[in-house]
Amino acid sequence: MIAFQRVAHTFGGVRALAGIDLEVAEHEFVAVIGRSGCGKSTLLRIAAGLLTPSRGRVLVAGEEVTAPCRDVSLMFQRPALLPWRSVLANVLLPAEVLGLGEQRSRAHELLELVGLGGFEERLPHELSGGMQQRVSLCRSLLQDPGVMLMDEPFSALDAITRTELSEELQRIQREQPRTVLFVTHSVDEAVLLADRVVVLSPRPGRVHEITDVPLARPRALGRAELDEVSRAVRASLGEVTA
């Protein structure tokens, strides 16, 4: 579904990515982990069509990415909500901009799904950080994307909210699987959510090691099998950060 082919990127003189080769299968959930500054956000922005790589190319559904498209959604570390719009109007933004027609009832469903039923008319600043990020998740889902790119979507949240949201994400993913590329700082989160965990080496980023997570779902944090995989990923991370 997503194929990075020798993707390299240089900002001015700074080499951010050095030759990334990575394939993400349809409905596969791949977590990307690595030191800050190793080019994870750059990788996602290239996949989203916001940035043209200096070298190499990215294919989504077999087609080279040259511009943003409807089938790919991007979610950020911060909720990135429009403060002047109500929760509902924020969720409906993709429908307006992409011209998807009437999506109100779907927006209501999505908000219901993440436990925000009844908050439709609130303004973002009236919501907690976790609720705001849920709104942002609904906004991504409204677009009904085949591919979701998520850039540390939970890392600004407190531990409890974070766990809740990753459980919700698992549930949503089970109900309707999508292809997800998920950047995170947390090994546990990566192992909990992903089919495979990609460890990037520090700048310039390249694929250091890929660890499979061959565990049945639903998964819950703190299980022994998860810890085993987490240890493997930590070891791999240790190699690159040492």
Binding site: C69, A80, L82, P83, L98, Q132, Q143
Partner: protein, 249 residues
């Protein structure tokens, strides 16, 4: 209750002024007492209110025109680097010209009627509006811009659904600066050549040595400025309720 303190402040100043005119026996030609000023107003209340309306109308019309012209200019400047390079320096240079120096020319071109006053108002008002709108639109967080880009948003969407909205709180800063300047602009225009308006009253009262009439006109100008300013503040509260809580990006 919030009105109590400003009113007390006003009363204190007026009281001190009154006291000073009595204690130092100031010649009313130099500094009339508040009583003299009120007397002047009560002699010609209808006339003065009419002049107040003239000046207010000039200020409001010029201000509205500045918004109508200034916001699109800001959109163009932010939207096109070429236009920005071509015209922004010119705009800055234009703004550096003291408006009072242009006033006689404006009157020569547009006559003694309301047109020249409105133009003067536009000249003083437009710059703060263009600047605040443009800088507000430019300061849109990169994340939000990327969000729009990732949705394949058109330039029109990016401007009208994002940048302009994001700029609103800053636009209001510019509007509040402009609205007080608007009254000043109208008065400058009236000083130079007019047949009506509070500025006209002030300049003619100078010729007839009627200082208390000039003071009455000034007091009315102050009232007009305050009323217009707070009308904008109210509008801002209604239009940008989220801006008071800027925790969210």
């Amino acid at each position: 209750m919030k009105a109590v303190l400003p009113v007390l402040g006003l009363l204190a100043i007026v009281g001190a002024w009154w006291l000073a005119t009595i204690v130092f026996r100031v010649d009313p030609f130099l500094l009339p007492s508040p009583g003299d000023v009120a007397g002047s107003f009560l002699e010609l209340p209808g006339y003065l209110l009419e002049q107040t309306l003239v000046t207010s109308w000039e200020a409001v019309a010029g201000f509205a025109l500045s918004v109508v012209i200034g916001v699109p200019i800001a959109l163009l400047v932010v939207g096109s680097t070429v236009l920005e390079r071509m015209f922004y320096p010119l705009l800055v240079a234009l703004n550096a010209v003291p408006k009072i120096a242009v006033a006689p020319l404006v009157v020569v071109w547009f006559g003694f009627g309301i047109g020249s006053k409105v133009l003067m108002v536009v000249l003083v008002c437009i710059f703060p509006i263009v600047i605040s709108t443009a800088s507000g639109m430019r300061s849109t967080p990169n994340e939000l811009v990327e969000l729009f880009r990732s949705l394949a948003a058109s330039r029109a969407h990016e401007f009208f659904k994002l940048r302009l909205w994001h700029a609103l709180p800053q636009i209001f800063v510019g509007l509040k600066v402009s609205i007080t300047l608007a009254v000043v602009g109208a008065v400058i225009g009236e000083f130079v050549g007019a047949r009506a308006g509070l500025g006209y009253v002030i300049s003619t009262s100078g010729a007839s040595a009627d200082t208390s009439l000039a003071f009455a006109a000034m007091a009315l100008l102050a009232v007009v400025s305050v009323v217009l300013f707070y009308a904008l503040v109210l509008l801002e509260r209604k239009l940008v309720p989220w801006a008071e809580e800027r925790r969210v990006v």
